[in-house]
Amino acid sequence: PRNTDSFDYARYHPINEIYSFQDMLVAENPNMVSKLVIGQSYEGRPLNVLKFSTGGTNRPAIWIDTGIHSREWVTQASGIWFAKKIVKDYGSDPALTAILDNMDIFLEIVTNPDGYYFTHTSNRMWRKTRKPNPGSSCIGVDPNRNWDAGFGGPGASSSPCSETYRGPRAHSEPEVKAIVDFVKSHGNIKAFISIHSYSQMLLYPYGYTTTPVKDQAELHQLAQKAISDLTSLYGTRYKYGSIINTIYQASGGTIDWTYNQGVKYSYTFELRDTGLYGFLLPANQIIPTAQETWLALMAIMDHTHKNPY
């Protein structure tokens, strides 16, 4: 495609096409979109983050990431759609316009690029990073067990051969460390939304402990609103609640860390489906998935904008 209007949002794309998409979007919208490279993956790929901003300095910001588990292809595909949606709706959707007039949005579409590349070339079912583990023939770390939040506790594996291997130490993975450094140095992230698939859930902290977060009531109410908006489009049913109560105990998870850093509106999604296809969601479901998810994202972003802290 020559531009982002002719880009095919209804199919899955290899990583080079996603990189091209990002560059096209920046070139077409120089006053709103820029590309930050926040680090490098283990294999040396850039960790690109799209910044959507209408000006200002270090404005309060919303972070969205997709694809930290590389095989969850509908998430990267949805991330691409969200990027275009933000550009298209600014100036016409009053809620998004108000958000972007006061806040920045950061979007990392391919959070685990080595894993994503590997799913296209060698193993479609790959989930982890691609860093070798000394002393083991098994490769990679689960980047959603590698954060410094209950790291090493139950709900993560100490075995490098496990799909939920936590890594040798917290933030050992460059893909994770880059986000950690970015969030800390930015210092003004107000919402952090990490997107996974599948099983249709919207979750808030904690995963590593049953102790409820101090903002549980507000996070729960906002999750309810977000899911009600999501379901209104196609009737897709979602569960919502804390990670430990809704899925299972998981230590070292992304949003437990962000919440403990002071990012109150920390959420993680599990997008479609409920299990007919698993990670092989047919490409014709990408756009409906992205559309319904966008409604929930808007609910969270709008609430964040209207409830400064």
């Binding site: 095919d8 075995s159 799909e163 809704t246 899925i247 299972y248 409920t274 296809y277």
Partner: protein, 96 residues
């Protein structure tokens, strides 16, 4: 390139807490080489597990031994992967 010929994805719905803990134990049983796609939550919530073809028979026997019901969500994973690849190839051709 890893292929998944004959791998199945089984859906297990635990009926009670006993089955729940038995299924939880599966995650530690490395001999079956399981890939848990959707993990154990609570009774009556489905658990999806990819099982390689060479451990499929013994794994199914294990489940049957404990009276744990399962259904086959994906009959042959490689067939689905091939279909996905074909779809991507044909979409790319149309795009060109």
């Amino acid at each position: 390139k890893d292929t998944f010929e004959g791998h199945q994805v089984l859906r297990i719905v635990p009926k009670n807490d006993v089955q729940l803990s038995l299924i939880k134990e599966l995650e530690k049983m490395i001999e079956f080489e399981l890939d848990i796609w959707m993990g154990v939550t609570d009774a009556f919530s489905p658990v999806d597990i990819r099982v390689p073809s060479h451990t499929l028979h013994s794994f199914k026997s294990y489940l049957e031994n404990f009276n744990i019901n399962y259904s086959t969500m994906i009959e042959n994973l490689q067939e689905m992967l091939d279909r996905e690849q074909e779809e991507m190839d044909s979409a790319a051709r149309v795009g060109q």
